[in-house]
Symmetry: C2
Subunit: 360 residues, 2 copies
């Protein structure tokens, strides 16, 4: 990598995985150097704009091979998008689940600019027989499972059905926070699917293919599946799709010492299923709950800031929890059913803080 | 250190802390190379028998300064003793608790030989005013808290009241598993207090002192205290004493793949409060429970082996839990109240396994 990531917590080198520090998630937009990274393979594509085209192919009437200049010439669209890894908070799954052991920092929000996917699909003129759209990244690697090697030239691929793909907020993004995408965030072009866990937002996008069939790629059928207790094998279960309603306490940090008097907790809440309508805070380990103030206007594609001011009258240790609600009636749960790969853990976060009598 | 610990999981170098691998805890007696180590300071005493005496002093009528030859000449007593660190399973406390993040492997059982502490106390002829007995290790270090340095020549010290100290099973041990204590296990002499968490079993024992007062040492009053939610400061709460009733699943390991047909789970259960009377196993995440067979005869100072044979009729993922009961009516809990330093977490352990249809 050419970038350095001193502001991120190291999770893995192969593939490169770095998670955000929760204390660095205090601003609505996460600066790029604080934005979590989850790659799938050790080798990261090193495209330049001159060696890269986006191929649009398959069951379409207008095959396209677009340069970045062509893509930039199309109407631009900018959105604030909250991206959360499907494995975020996996380390809190009990019993421990298979996979990279993320704490709560595999979530971030950026401003993404690009072209609406709909614009490209309209240009491509899909055939009426098209059923799914397959998005292929430029990253290559090997996957093994139960001793079987799936492919030694497997690119990262995901599909969306025609129903899913017609969301007007899906972008082909080439800028993040006002600059071209960095290499680890998918330069030159990344599919951004707001409201879905991050696996849907394919980096280093090299092709978009319309198909008549249901896509059975490795990352569609062998990964990102909620394999529950009692399920047969490793792949049977519901696919991971939209972000579960969830909130993060960004201030104070777990273990922080605060002082008697007023103290303002803050954090962010999000849901892929609806708008965030309420956030509640408990300072007694979940026995009683207080309503937080919702701060920024709700964006359908990004998290919402909340604050809660507490009068800390007593010294001692306090367990703080936060839970979010969305407009579809979803409430963040105290317990999340275990699944083999520990995906989509939106269990209520709890932190412990200490109230001291006065500043030292 | 002169010893190598390739069979133990590394936890910390300063101080040296190594935990047992749960898969290495399948035998009633834990081989010394698999026995967990929890030191308190970087520098480990390097005694030889010629430079070491045990001082017995304070409110006694017969001050003693005993060599190892003298101690070995006293009546010998041998006991199988289960030792568990007060911080064992701390990493499973929610929210995360302060301290070394042990998984479930800071527990082991050894055969210890030495002299009964009562024999030494009888020789010392305690004065009637004696109230507590202070045990001092030869390990020195510095402790800081809230910016205050407690001592730069603080040895590890713990006390027991006269009621507590007259337990006939308390040993001054010089052998472990048939050999002299190793340096990291407290050579040449270790106080062994069966049924208590490991902090009571002082290593590198250099003095035994009878006092008229209640002992206020750092490791008696500032550590090993269950500081609960809502408590003032860092030291108010009940002291950690005897081992909570608990069991460990040693076979299969978390994440293991087993095959359809009969499979025997096994593990060990212990309690410092009474004898282990029952162990139950759930293979459906805690919904239903089955009684395990208790194998070895109960020792009041060591864990008890259990086995449970399951007919695995279906493939898939299964969450296995085990819980123990003791003769004082204690049941291992599903939830343990949070405490600041995460001591005494005897919460039910759960593991996930997968049943496959046949061997590959």
């Amino acid at each position: 990598m050419t970038e350095s990531y001193s502001e991120l917590n190291h999770v893995s080198y192969d593939p490169l995985v770095k998670e955000s520090r929760v204390a660095n998630l205090g601003s609505f937009i996460t600066p790029t150097e604080n934005f979590y990274i989850r790659n799938h393979y050790l080798e990261v594509p090193d495209f330049s704009e001159t060696t890269w085209n986006l191929e649009v192919k398959g069951h379409i009437n207008s095959p396209l091979s677009l340069t970045m200049n062509a893509i930039r010439a199309l109407p631009k669209k900018e959105l604030d998008i909250t991206l959360e890894c499907a494995g975020n908070s996996r380390s809190y799954m009990m019993p421990e689940a298979e996979g990279i052991q993320f704490n709560h920092g595999a979530v971030s929000t950026g401003t993404f600019m690009g072209v609406s996917l709909n614009t490209i699909l309209d240009l491509a003129d899909l055939k009426s027989t098209a059923k799914e759209i397959i998005f292929s990244g430029g990253d290559l690697g090997t996957e093994e499972e139960d001793g079987a090697v799936f492919s030694n030239t497997l690119t990262y691929q995901r599909s969306l059905t025609l129903d899913q793909v017609r969301d007007e907020n899906i972008l082909l993004a080439y800028e993040m926070n006002g600059s071209p995408l960095t290499r680890d965030h998918g330069f030159p072009l990344r599919l951004m699917v707001p409201g879905w866990y991050g696996m849907a937002s394919v980096k280093w996008l090299v092709s978009i293919e319309a198909t008549e069939h249901s896509f059975n790629g490795f990352f569609q059928k062998n990964r990102y599946i909620l394999v529950p207790e009692g399920a047969e094998g490793r792949t049977l279960g519901e696919p991971v799709t939209k972000l579960g309603v969830k909130t993060l306490i960004s201030t104070p940090r777990h273990g922080e010492v605060i002082y008697k008097g007023p103290f303002t907790f803050s954090g962010f809440a999000w849901s892929g299923w609806g708008l965030v309508t309420k956030v509640e805070i408990s300072v007694d380990g979940g026995t009683t709950w207080n309503q937080a103030r919702l701060i920024n206007n709700q964006s359908p594609t990004a998290w919402r800031k909340w604050e809660f001011t507490w009068q800390a009258n007593n010294t001692g240790h306090f367990i703080v929890k936060a839970r979010a609600y969305d407009s579809k009636g979803n409430v963040q749960p105290s317990n999340v059913p275990w699944n083999f790969r520990g995906y989509a853990n939106n269990c209520i976060q709890s932190i412990a803080i200490r109230v001291a009598s006065k500043r030292p």
